[in-house]
Protein backbone atom coordinates (compact mmCIF):
# COMPACT_ATOMS: atom_id res chain seq x y z
CA UNK A 1 0.00 0.00 0.00
CA UNK A 2 1.51 3.29 -1.01
CA UNK A 3 1.70 5.65 1.89
CA UNK A 4 2.73 8.88 0.30
CA UNK A 5 1.80 12.11 -0.71
CA UNK A 6 2.77 15.44 -1.87
CA UNK A 7 1.94 16.79 -5.28
CA UNK A 8 0.46 13.42 -6.18
CA UNK A 9 -0.91 10.69 -4.07
CA UNK A 10 0.53 7.34 -4.95
CA UNK A 11 -2.14 4.77 -5.34
CA UNK A 12 -0.20 1.58 -5.56
CA UNK A 13 -2.93 -0.04 -3.55
CA UNK A 14 -5.76 1.16 -5.75
CA UNK A 15 -6.24 -2.14 -7.48
CA UNK A 16 -6.11 -4.03 -4.21
CA UNK A 17 -8.71 -1.81 -2.67
CA UNK A 18 -10.99 -1.97 -5.62
CA UNK A 19 -11.46 -5.69 -5.27
CA UNK A 20 -12.52 -5.47 -1.67
CA UNK A 21 -15.90 -4.25 -2.67
CA UNK A 22 -18.34 -7.04 -3.24
CA UNK A 23 -20.04 -6.74 -6.62
CA UNK A 24 -22.99 -8.69 -5.36
CA UNK A 25 -25.89 -6.38 -4.76
CA UNK A 26 -27.95 -7.23 -1.76
CA UNK A 27 -31.51 -7.32 -2.88
CA UNK A 28 -34.44 -7.75 -0.61
CA UNK A 29 -35.11 -11.24 -1.89
CA UNK A 30 -33.13 -14.47 -1.71
CA UNK A 31 -29.47 -13.74 -0.90
CA UNK A 32 -26.90 -14.87 -3.44
CA UNK A 33 -25.35 -18.15 -2.31
CA UNK A 34 -22.06 -16.95 -3.80
CA UNK A 35 -21.64 -13.74 -1.89
CA UNK A 36 -19.73 -15.17 1.05
CA UNK A 37 -17.25 -16.74 -1.35
CA UNK A 38 -16.27 -13.59 -3.18
CA UNK A 39 -12.62 -12.87 -2.42
CA UNK A 40 -11.98 -10.42 -5.21
CA UNK A 41 -11.15 -10.80 -8.87
CA UNK A 42 -7.77 -11.83 -10.16
CA UNK A 43 -5.66 -8.72 -10.37
CA UNK A 44 -2.93 -8.93 -13.00
CA UNK A 45 -1.00 -6.11 -11.36
CA UNK A 46 -0.69 -8.20 -8.25
CA UNK A 47 0.69 -11.21 -10.11
CA UNK A 48 2.74 -9.63 -12.88
CA UNK A 49 4.20 -6.62 -11.09
CA UNK A 50 6.40 -7.40 -8.13
CA UNK A 51 7.55 -3.85 -7.53
CA UNK A 52 5.67 -0.86 -8.89
CA UNK A 53 8.60 1.52 -8.59
CA UNK A 54 10.84 -0.51 -10.90
CA UNK A 55 8.41 -2.09 -13.37
CA UNK A 56 7.84 -0.65 -16.82
CA UNK A 57 5.93 -1.88 -19.85
CA UNK A 58 7.64 -1.61 -23.24
CA UNK A 59 6.64 -2.58 -26.77
CA UNK A 60 8.69 -4.76 -29.15
CA UNK A 61 9.63 -3.54 -32.59
CA UNK A 62 11.19 -6.24 -34.82
CA UNK A 63 11.40 -10.00 -35.02
CA UNK A 64 14.87 -10.92 -33.76
CA UNK A 65 13.47 -12.60 -30.62
CA UNK A 66 10.82 -14.85 -32.14
CA UNK A 67 12.68 -17.96 -30.93
CA UNK A 68 12.03 -16.81 -27.37
CA UNK A 69 8.33 -16.38 -28.11
CA UNK A 70 8.60 -12.61 -28.44
CA UNK A 71 7.06 -11.13 -31.59
CA UNK A 72 6.85 -7.75 -33.22
CA UNK A 73 4.26 -5.63 -31.43
CA UNK A 74 4.22 -7.65 -28.20
CA UNK A 75 4.29 -5.85 -24.89
CA UNK A 76 6.91 -6.82 -22.32
CA UNK A 77 7.00 -6.37 -18.58
CA UNK A 78 10.44 -5.19 -17.54
CA UNK A 79 11.76 -5.10 -14.00
CA UNK A 80 14.73 -2.78 -13.59
CA UNK A 81 15.52 -3.95 -10.08
CA UNK A 82 16.39 -7.53 -11.05
CA UNK A 83 20.00 -8.66 -11.38
CA UNK A 84 20.58 -9.95 -14.94
CA UNK A 85 22.07 -13.44 -15.05
CA UNK A 86 23.17 -15.82 -17.81
CA UNK A 87 20.05 -16.60 -19.83
CA UNK A 88 18.06 -13.50 -18.84
CA UNK A 89 16.17 -11.75 -21.59
CA UNK A 90 17.26 -8.16 -21.14
CA UNK A 91 16.61 -4.70 -22.48
CA UNK A 92 20.07 -3.30 -23.09
CA UNK A 93 21.25 0.09 -24.26
CA UNK A 94 22.99 -0.34 -27.63
CA UNK A 95 23.98 2.69 -29.73
CA UNK A 96 21.57 4.92 -27.84
CA UNK A 97 18.64 2.57 -28.36
CA UNK A 98 16.76 0.20 -26.13
CA UNK A 99 17.34 -3.25 -27.60
CA UNK A 100 16.08 -6.65 -26.51
CA UNK A 101 18.45 -9.65 -26.49
CA UNK A 102 19.19 -12.77 -24.48
CA UNK A 103 22.18 -12.27 -22.20
CA UNK A 104 24.84 -14.99 -22.29
CA UNK A 105 27.63 -14.89 -19.74
CA UNK A 106 30.16 -17.58 -20.56
CA UNK A 107 33.76 -18.39 -19.75
CA UNK A 108 34.84 -16.66 -22.94
CA UNK A 109 32.88 -13.48 -22.54
CA UNK A 110 29.54 -11.75 -22.67
CA UNK A 111 27.24 -12.18 -25.65
CA UNK A 112 23.94 -10.54 -26.51
CA UNK A 113 22.13 -13.23 -28.42
CA UNK A 114 19.27 -12.82 -30.86
CA UNK A 115 16.68 -15.60 -30.86
CA UNK A 116 16.34 -15.70 -34.62
CA UNK A 117 19.09 -17.15 -36.85
CA UNK A 118 18.67 -14.23 -39.25
CA UNK A 119 20.26 -11.88 -36.72
CA UNK A 120 23.88 -11.93 -35.53
CA UNK A 121 25.00 -12.12 -31.91
CA UNK A 122 26.75 -9.15 -30.40
CA UNK A 123 29.91 -9.65 -28.34
CA UNK A 124 30.48 -7.35 -25.40
CA UNK A 125 34.03 -7.06 -23.98
CA UNK A 126 32.79 -7.49 -20.41
CA UNK A 127 29.68 -7.19 -18.29
CA UNK A 128 30.77 -3.79 -17.06
CA UNK A 129 30.77 -2.47 -20.63
CA UNK A 130 27.12 -3.32 -20.95
CA UNK A 131 24.28 -1.08 -19.87
CA UNK A 132 21.36 -3.31 -18.94
CA UNK A 133 18.19 -1.23 -18.74
CA UNK A 134 16.06 -3.96 -17.24
CA UNK A 135 15.24 -7.65 -17.13
CA UNK A 136 12.19 -8.89 -19.03
CA UNK A 137 9.91 -10.97 -16.83
CA UNK A 138 6.86 -11.51 -19.04
CA UNK A 139 5.83 -11.24 -22.64
CA UNK A 140 2.27 -10.25 -23.45
CA UNK A 141 2.01 -11.96 -26.81
CA UNK A 142 -0.73 -11.00 -29.25
CA UNK A 143 -2.48 -14.03 -30.69
Amino acid sequence: MGVLVGPRVIDAGASLLSVLISPVAVAAGYPSPAQDYFDGRIDLNEHLIKDVTSTYVVRVSGDSMTGAGISDGDELIVNRALEPVDGSVVVAVLDGELTIKRLRITGTGVVLQAENPAYPDIRVPSLSDLVVWGVVTRCLHHL
Binding site: V5, I10, D11, I21, T53, S54, V58, R59, L98, T99
Partner: protein, 426 residues
Amino acid sequence: MRQLPQIAHVDVNCFYASAERAFNPALEGRPVIVLSNNDGCAVTRSPEAKALGIAMGEPWFKLAPRAKEWGLVALSSNYELYGDISARVMELLGRYSAWLEVYSIDEAFLGVKGTPDELLALGRTMKTAVRRNVGVPVCVGIGPTKTISKLANKWAKNNSAFSGVCHWDSVPAAEREGLMRRLSVIEVWGVATRLTKRLNALGIHSVLDLSRADPVMIRDRFSVVMMRTVLELQGTPCIPMEEERIGRDQLIFSRSFATPITTADGIRQVMSVYGQQASARLARHGLQAKVLTAFAGTSYFNPKDTSYPSVSVTLPMPTADPVILTKAAYALLPRIVEGIRYARAGIMVTDLRLSGNQAPLALFENPHEERHLGSLLEDVIRRYGRGFIGLGHAGIRSGPEWTMKRDMLSPRYTTHWDELPLVKAA
Protein backbone atom coordinates in the same frame (compact mmCIF):
# COMPACT_ATOMS: atom_id res chain seq x y z
CA MET B 1 28.38 7.03 18.79
CA ARG B 2 26.00 9.82 17.95
CA GLN B 3 22.49 8.65 17.23
CA LEU B 4 20.79 12.02 16.88
CA PRO B 5 18.02 12.20 14.31
CA GLN B 6 19.21 13.63 11.04
CA ILE B 7 17.52 14.84 7.90
CA ALA B 8 18.31 13.55 4.43
CA HIS B 9 17.52 15.74 1.45
CA VAL B 10 17.19 13.83 -1.81
CA ASP B 11 16.62 15.39 -5.19
CA VAL B 12 16.75 14.25 -8.77
CA ASN B 13 19.49 15.79 -10.88
CA CYS B 14 18.01 17.84 -13.76
CA PHE B 15 14.73 16.10 -13.13
CA TYR B 16 12.84 16.67 -16.38
CA ALA B 17 15.84 15.99 -18.61
CA SER B 18 16.74 12.89 -16.59
CA ALA B 19 13.20 11.53 -16.86
CA GLU B 20 13.40 11.92 -20.65
CA ARG B 21 16.80 10.25 -20.80
CA ALA B 22 15.57 7.24 -18.83
CA PHE B 23 13.51 6.22 -21.87
CA ASN B 24 15.60 7.69 -24.63
CA PRO B 25 19.26 6.80 -24.04
CA ALA B 26 20.23 8.64 -27.23
CA LEU B 27 19.83 11.86 -25.19
CA GLU B 28 22.64 10.79 -22.86
CA GLY B 29 25.59 13.16 -23.15
CA ARG B 30 23.71 15.54 -25.45
CA PRO B 31 22.54 19.03 -24.54
CA VAL B 32 18.86 18.71 -23.63
CA ILE B 33 16.41 21.38 -22.57
CA VAL B 34 12.79 21.00 -21.52
CA LEU B 35 10.49 23.88 -22.38
CA SER B 36 7.81 25.50 -20.26
CA ASN B 37 4.08 25.47 -21.07
CA ASN B 38 3.46 26.44 -24.66
CA ASP B 39 7.08 25.68 -25.48
CA GLY B 40 7.93 29.16 -24.24
CA CYS B 41 11.32 28.96 -22.60
CA ALA B 42 13.90 26.57 -21.16
CA VAL B 43 12.94 25.40 -17.67
CA THR B 44 15.34 22.47 -17.39
CA ARG B 45 18.85 22.29 -18.78
CA SER B 46 21.12 19.29 -18.83
CA PRO B 47 24.73 20.05 -17.81
CA GLU B 48 25.66 19.94 -21.51
CA ALA B 49 23.01 22.58 -22.25
CA LYS B 50 24.30 24.75 -19.40
CA ALA B 51 27.79 24.38 -20.83
CA LEU B 52 26.51 25.91 -24.08
CA GLY B 53 25.65 29.01 -22.07
CA ILE B 54 21.89 28.50 -22.26
CA ALA B 55 20.31 30.40 -19.38
CA MET B 56 17.36 29.34 -17.27
CA GLY B 57 14.22 30.86 -18.79
CA GLU B 58 15.82 31.61 -22.14
CA PRO B 59 13.04 31.80 -24.74
CA TRP B 60 12.92 28.99 -27.27
CA PHE B 61 12.50 31.30 -30.26
CA LYS B 62 15.95 32.69 -29.54
CA LEU B 63 17.53 29.26 -29.22
CA ALA B 64 15.76 27.50 -32.08
CA PRO B 65 17.86 28.96 -34.93
CA ARG B 66 21.07 27.59 -33.38
CA ALA B 67 19.69 24.29 -32.06
CA LYS B 68 20.84 22.25 -35.03
CA GLU B 69 24.36 23.61 -35.01
CA TRP B 70 24.61 22.89 -31.27
CA GLY B 71 23.00 19.47 -31.47
CA LEU B 72 20.55 20.80 -28.91
CA VAL B 73 17.46 18.71 -28.19
CA ALA B 74 14.42 20.66 -27.01
CA LEU B 75 11.40 18.87 -25.58
CA SER B 76 7.97 20.05 -24.49
CA SER B 77 7.08 19.45 -20.86
CA ASN B 78 5.84 15.87 -20.56
CA TYR B 79 3.97 16.30 -17.28
CA GLU B 80 2.42 12.83 -17.45
CA LEU B 81 5.88 11.26 -17.54
CA TYR B 82 7.38 13.52 -14.88
CA GLY B 83 4.45 12.96 -12.54
CA ASP B 84 4.76 9.20 -12.76
CA ILE B 85 8.54 9.19 -12.36
CA SER B 86 8.21 11.52 -9.36
CA ALA B 87 5.63 9.22 -7.75
CA ARG B 88 7.94 6.23 -8.24
CA VAL B 89 10.91 8.06 -6.72
CA MET B 90 8.88 9.19 -3.72
CA GLU B 91 7.39 5.79 -3.10
CA LEU B 92 10.83 4.19 -3.27
CA LEU B 93 12.31 6.78 -0.88
CA GLY B 94 9.41 6.17 1.49
CA ARG B 95 10.74 2.65 2.01
CA TYR B 96 13.85 4.05 3.70
CA SER B 97 12.11 6.17 6.28
CA ALA B 98 8.71 6.35 7.89
CA TRP B 99 9.14 10.09 7.89
CA LEU B 100 9.03 11.55 4.42
CA GLU B 101 8.12 15.03 3.30
CA VAL B 102 7.63 15.45 -0.44
CA TYR B 103 8.87 19.00 -0.88
CA SER B 104 8.39 19.33 -4.62
CA ILE B 105 8.08 17.16 -7.71
CA ASP B 106 11.77 16.26 -7.56
CA GLU B 107 12.87 16.64 -3.96
CA ALA B 108 12.06 15.18 -0.57
CA PHE B 109 13.21 15.35 3.03
CA LEU B 110 13.49 12.16 5.06
CA GLY B 111 14.00 11.72 8.79
CA VAL B 112 16.93 9.31 9.26
CA LYS B 113 18.90 7.94 12.17
CA GLY B 114 22.17 6.12 12.68
CA THR B 115 25.90 6.40 13.07
CA PRO B 116 27.77 8.51 10.50
CA ASP B 117 28.82 5.33 8.70
CA GLU B 118 25.27 4.01 8.64
CA LEU B 119 23.94 7.32 7.35
CA LEU B 120 26.51 7.46 4.55
CA ALA B 121 25.65 3.88 3.62
CA LEU B 122 21.93 4.71 3.66
CA GLY B 123 22.51 7.70 1.39
CA ARG B 124 24.42 5.55 -1.09
CA THR B 125 21.77 2.83 -0.96
CA MET B 126 19.00 5.31 -1.75
CA LYS B 127 21.00 6.86 -4.57
CA THR B 128 21.70 3.45 -6.13
CA ALA B 129 18.12 2.24 -5.69
CA VAL B 130 16.52 5.27 -7.35
CA ARG B 131 18.98 5.15 -10.25
CA ARG B 132 18.51 1.45 -10.76
CA ASN B 133 14.81 0.92 -10.02
CA VAL B 134 13.35 4.07 -11.48
CA GLY B 135 16.17 5.07 -13.81
CA VAL B 136 17.00 8.64 -12.74
CA PRO B 137 20.08 10.01 -10.93
CA VAL B 138 19.76 11.64 -7.50
CA CYS B 139 22.08 13.31 -5.02
CA VAL B 140 21.73 13.03 -1.26
CA GLY B 141 22.66 15.50 1.46
CA ILE B 142 22.41 14.51 5.12
CA GLY B 143 22.67 16.88 8.04
CA PRO B 144 21.22 17.81 11.42
CA THR B 145 18.75 20.33 9.96
CA LYS B 146 16.82 20.84 6.75
CA THR B 147 18.90 23.88 5.83
CA ILE B 148 22.17 22.00 6.29
CA SER B 149 20.93 18.91 4.44
CA LYS B 150 20.05 21.14 1.47
CA LEU B 151 23.52 22.66 1.67
CA ALA B 152 25.11 19.20 1.90
CA ASN B 153 23.15 18.13 -1.17
CA LYS B 154 24.39 21.16 -3.09
CA TRP B 155 27.90 20.19 -2.13
CA ALA B 156 27.31 16.57 -3.16
CA LYS B 157 26.13 17.78 -6.57
CA ASN B 158 28.95 20.17 -7.26
CA ASN B 159 31.90 18.21 -5.89
CA SER B 160 32.57 14.91 -7.58
CA ALA B 161 34.68 13.72 -4.63
CA PHE B 162 31.43 12.94 -2.80
CA SER B 163 30.03 10.69 -5.55
CA GLY B 164 26.64 12.28 -5.03
CA VAL B 165 26.24 11.64 -1.29
CA CYS B 166 27.38 14.08 1.40
CA HIS B 167 26.95 13.54 5.13
CA TRP B 168 27.72 16.90 6.67
CA ASP B 169 29.02 15.69 10.02
CA SER B 170 31.38 13.20 8.36
CA VAL B 171 33.17 15.99 6.53
CA PRO B 172 36.17 17.34 8.48
CA ALA B 173 35.31 20.65 10.18
CA ALA B 174 38.05 22.58 8.38
CA GLU B 175 36.73 21.45 5.02
CA ARG B 176 33.16 22.40 5.96
CA GLU B 177 34.29 25.84 6.95
CA GLY B 178 36.16 26.23 3.70
CA LEU B 179 33.00 25.43 1.77
CA MET B 180 30.86 27.74 3.84
CA ARG B 181 33.37 30.52 3.32
CA ARG B 182 33.30 30.04 -0.45
CA LEU B 183 29.52 29.90 -0.77
CA SER B 184 27.56 33.11 -0.97
CA VAL B 185 24.63 33.57 1.45
CA ILE B 186 22.27 33.51 -1.49
CA GLU B 187 22.94 29.78 -1.80
CA VAL B 188 21.24 29.18 1.55
CA TRP B 189 17.71 27.77 1.46
CA GLY B 190 15.27 30.56 2.26
CA VAL B 191 17.58 33.52 1.77
CA ALA B 192 15.85 35.60 -0.86
CA THR B 193 17.77 37.69 -3.36
CA ARG B 194 16.48 40.96 -1.97
CA LEU B 195 17.77 40.10 1.50
CA THR B 196 21.27 39.43 0.22
CA LYS B 197 22.07 43.12 -0.15
CA ARG B 198 20.93 43.89 3.38
CA LEU B 199 22.99 41.00 4.73
CA ASN B 200 26.02 42.16 2.76
CA ALA B 201 25.64 45.62 4.25
CA LEU B 202 26.13 44.02 7.67
CA GLY B 203 29.30 42.31 6.48
CA ILE B 204 27.55 38.99 6.00
CA HIS B 205 28.64 37.67 2.62
CA SER B 206 29.31 33.96 2.91
CA VAL B 207 27.35 31.09 4.37
CA LEU B 208 30.00 30.97 7.09
CA ASP B 209 29.37 34.62 7.97
CA LEU B 210 25.66 33.93 8.28
CA SER B 211 26.19 30.83 10.43
CA ARG B 212 28.34 32.92 12.81
CA ALA B 213 25.90 35.80 13.06
CA ASP B 214 24.14 36.46 16.33
CA PRO B 215 20.64 34.96 16.00
CA VAL B 216 19.08 37.64 18.18
CA MET B 217 20.64 40.46 16.17
CA ILE B 218 19.40 38.75 12.98
CA ARG B 219 15.90 38.48 14.42
CA ASP B 220 15.89 42.15 15.34
CA ARG B 221 17.25 43.35 12.02
CA PHE B 222 15.43 40.90 9.77
CA SER B 223 12.85 38.48 11.04
CA VAL B 224 12.27 35.42 13.11
CA VAL B 225 12.39 33.44 9.86
CA MET B 226 15.93 34.56 9.10
CA MET B 227 16.87 33.81 12.70
CA ARG B 228 15.64 30.26 12.18
CA THR B 229 17.85 29.95 9.14
CA VAL B 230 20.85 31.06 11.21
CA LEU B 231 20.00 28.59 13.98
CA GLU B 232 19.55 25.83 11.41
CA LEU B 233 22.99 26.60 9.96
CA GLN B 234 24.33 26.27 13.50
CA GLY B 235 22.77 22.83 13.76
CA THR B 236 19.56 23.56 15.67
CA PRO B 237 16.51 22.22 13.83
CA CYS B 238 13.88 24.98 13.50
CA ILE B 239 11.97 24.08 10.35
CA PRO B 240 9.81 21.11 11.22
CA MET B 241 9.22 18.16 8.97
CA GLU B 242 5.82 18.34 7.39
CA GLU B 243 4.40 14.96 7.89
CA GLU B 244 1.82 14.02 5.35
CA ARG B 245 0.52 10.55 5.21
CA ILE B 246 -2.10 8.68 3.35
CA GLY B 247 -3.87 5.92 5.05
CA ARG B 248 -7.11 4.50 3.86
CA ASP B 249 -8.73 6.99 6.15
CA GLN B 250 -7.57 10.11 4.35
CA LEU B 251 -6.35 11.47 1.05
CA ILE B 252 -4.42 14.70 0.73
CA PHE B 253 -3.94 16.78 -2.37
CA SER B 254 -1.54 19.60 -1.80
CA ARG B 255 1.36 21.30 -3.45
CA SER B 256 3.60 24.32 -3.47
CA PHE B 257 3.03 26.74 -6.30
CA ALA B 258 5.77 27.74 -8.68
CA THR B 259 4.69 31.35 -8.22
CA PRO B 260 2.59 32.47 -5.27
CA ILE B 261 -1.16 32.90 -5.69
CA THR B 262 -2.48 36.20 -4.39
CA THR B 263 -6.19 36.13 -5.17
CA ALA B 264 -9.22 34.19 -3.99
CA ASP B 265 -9.99 33.51 -7.61
CA GLY B 266 -6.61 31.86 -8.04
CA ILE B 267 -7.25 29.67 -5.01
CA ARG B 268 -10.72 28.89 -6.37
CA GLN B 269 -9.07 27.43 -9.44
CA VAL B 270 -6.75 25.30 -7.31
CA MET B 271 -9.72 24.07 -5.27
CA SER B 272 -11.60 23.14 -8.45
CA VAL B 273 -8.69 21.05 -9.65
CA TYR B 274 -8.23 19.31 -6.31
CA GLY B 275 -11.96 18.77 -5.79
CA GLN B 276 -12.10 16.96 -9.08
CA GLN B 277 -8.92 14.98 -8.41
CA ALA B 278 -10.20 13.95 -5.01
CA SER B 279 -13.44 12.81 -6.57
CA ALA B 280 -11.63 10.71 -9.16
CA ARG B 281 -9.31 9.20 -6.58
CA LEU B 282 -12.14 8.36 -4.22
CA ALA B 283 -14.14 6.77 -7.02
CA ARG B 284 -11.18 4.67 -8.10
CA HIS B 285 -10.79 3.38 -4.57
CA GLY B 286 -14.53 2.82 -4.25
CA LEU B 287 -14.62 5.29 -1.38
CA GLN B 288 -16.74 8.20 -0.25
CA ALA B 289 -15.75 11.00 2.12
CA LYS B 290 -17.75 12.56 4.90
CA VAL B 291 -15.41 15.43 5.74
CA LEU B 292 -13.44 17.76 3.52
CA THR B 293 -10.75 20.12 4.78
CA ALA B 294 -9.40 22.86 2.55
CA PHE B 295 -6.31 24.85 3.41
CA ALA B 296 -3.79 27.33 2.08
CA GLY B 297 -0.63 28.80 3.49
CA THR B 298 2.13 31.30 2.91
CA SER B 299 5.77 30.29 2.59
CA TYR B 300 7.92 29.38 5.59
CA PHE B 301 10.23 32.04 4.37
CA ASN B 302 7.79 34.86 4.16
CA PRO B 303 8.00 36.42 7.60
CA LYS B 304 5.48 39.16 6.96
CA ASP B 305 1.90 38.52 6.02
CA THR B 306 1.71 34.97 7.21
CA SER B 307 -1.66 33.40 6.69
CA TYR B 308 -2.75 29.79 7.10
CA PRO B 309 -6.51 29.71 6.49
CA SER B 310 -8.23 26.38 6.70
CA VAL B 311 -11.76 25.16 6.91
CA SER B 312 -13.37 21.79 7.57
CA VAL B 313 -16.73 20.96 6.04
CA THR B 314 -18.86 18.05 7.11
CA LEU B 315 -20.71 16.91 4.03
CA PRO B 316 -24.45 16.20 4.22
CA MET B 317 -23.67 12.58 3.39
CA PRO B 318 -20.63 10.55 2.35
CA THR B 319 -19.86 11.32 -1.27
CA ALA B 320 -17.35 11.12 -4.07
CA ASP B 321 -19.25 13.60 -6.19
CA PRO B 322 -16.98 16.19 -7.81
CA VAL B 323 -19.54 19.00 -7.68
CA ILE B 324 -20.21 18.58 -3.97
CA LEU B 325 -16.54 18.18 -3.09
CA THR B 326 -15.53 21.21 -5.12
CA LYS B 327 -18.31 23.34 -3.65
CA ALA B 328 -17.27 22.28 -0.16
CA ALA B 329 -13.67 23.28 -0.89
CA TYR B 330 -14.89 26.75 -1.89
CA ALA B 331 -15.74 27.33 1.78
CA LEU B 332 -12.09 28.30 2.09
CA LEU B 333 -12.44 31.28 -0.25
CA PRO B 334 -13.95 33.79 2.20
CA ARG B 335 -10.90 33.22 4.42
CA ILE B 336 -8.41 34.00 1.70
CA VAL B 337 -6.87 37.43 2.17
CA GLU B 338 -6.47 39.14 -1.18
CA GLY B 339 -2.92 40.30 -1.81
CA ILE B 340 -1.26 37.80 0.49
CA ARG B 341 1.20 35.54 -1.28
CA TYR B 342 -0.04 31.98 -0.82
CA ALA B 343 2.71 29.47 -1.52
CA ARG B 344 0.68 26.30 -1.15
CA ALA B 345 -2.84 25.03 -0.87
CA GLY B 346 -4.63 21.76 -0.78
CA ILE B 347 -7.57 19.71 0.31
CA MET B 348 -7.85 16.67 2.49
CA VAL B 349 -10.78 14.27 2.56
CA THR B 350 -11.30 12.24 5.70
CA ASP B 351 -13.77 9.95 7.37
CA LEU B 352 -13.72 7.71 4.32
CA ARG B 353 -15.97 4.75 3.82
CA LEU B 354 -16.67 2.22 1.12
CA SER B 355 -19.24 3.55 -1.30
CA GLY B 356 -22.48 1.75 -1.82
CA ASN B 357 -22.58 0.36 1.67
CA GLN B 358 -25.86 1.94 2.41
CA ALA B 359 -28.54 3.27 0.15
CA PRO B 360 -28.96 6.99 0.77
CA LEU B 361 -32.30 8.17 2.05
CA ALA B 362 -34.25 9.76 -0.76
CA LEU B 363 -34.16 13.05 1.09
CA PHE B 364 -30.40 13.23 0.80
CA GLU B 365 -30.09 11.82 -2.66
CA ASN B 366 -27.80 13.88 -4.68
CA PRO B 367 -28.75 14.72 -8.23
CA HIS B 368 -25.11 14.86 -9.43
CA GLU B 369 -24.36 11.45 -8.06
CA GLU B 370 -27.45 10.08 -9.77
CA ARG B 371 -26.08 11.25 -13.08
CA HIS B 372 -22.69 9.64 -12.37
CA LEU B 373 -20.94 12.85 -13.24
CA GLY B 374 -17.71 11.76 -11.60
CA SER B 375 -17.29 8.61 -13.60
CA LEU B 376 -18.36 10.36 -16.78
CA LEU B 377 -15.68 12.99 -16.28
CA GLU B 378 -13.08 10.30 -15.69
CA ASP B 379 -14.14 8.45 -18.84
CA VAL B 380 -13.78 11.58 -20.94
CA ILE B 381 -10.41 12.39 -19.37
CA ARG B 382 -9.17 8.85 -19.89
CA ARG B 383 -10.11 8.97 -23.55
CA TYR B 384 -9.17 12.53 -24.46
CA GLY B 385 -6.65 13.49 -21.84
CA ARG B 386 -6.52 15.62 -18.73
CA GLY B 387 -7.53 19.21 -19.34
CA PHE B 388 -10.02 18.22 -22.02
CA ILE B 389 -12.98 18.54 -19.70
CA GLY B 390 -13.51 19.63 -16.14
CA LEU B 391 -15.74 21.33 -13.68
CA GLY B 392 -15.79 25.07 -13.39
CA HIS B 393 -12.29 26.42 -13.18
CA ALA B 394 -10.75 22.96 -13.50
CA GLY B 395 -12.08 22.71 -17.03
CA ILE B 396 -11.96 25.61 -19.41
CA ARG B 397 -8.68 27.15 -18.48
CA SER B 398 -7.72 30.57 -19.61
CA GLY B 399 -6.44 30.83 -23.18
CA PRO B 400 -2.83 29.77 -23.30
CA GLU B 401 -3.14 26.80 -20.99
CA TRP B 402 -6.25 25.57 -22.70
CA THR B 403 -4.54 25.55 -26.06
CA MET B 404 -1.26 24.42 -24.60
CA LYS B 405 1.28 23.96 -27.30
CA ARG B 406 3.46 20.92 -26.91
CA ASP B 407 4.99 20.52 -30.33
CA MET B 408 8.05 18.64 -29.16
CA LEU B 409 6.37 16.28 -26.76
CA SER B 410 8.05 12.95 -26.13
CA PRO B 411 5.82 9.88 -25.71
CA ARG B 412 4.00 9.55 -22.39
CA TYR B 413 5.94 6.32 -21.91
CA THR B 414 4.55 5.18 -18.60
CA THR B 415 0.97 6.40 -18.53
CA HIS B 416 -0.41 5.79 -22.03
CA TRP B 417 -0.66 2.33 -23.54
CA ASP B 418 -0.33 3.68 -27.08
CA GLU B 419 2.89 5.48 -26.25
CA LEU B 420 4.97 2.76 -24.57
CA PRO B 421 8.73 2.87 -25.08
CA LEU B 422 9.78 0.85 -28.13
CA VAL B 423 12.53 -1.73 -27.70
CA LYS B 424 14.28 -2.84 -30.83
CA ALA B 425 14.38 -6.53 -31.68
CA ALA B 426 16.86 -6.35 -34.55
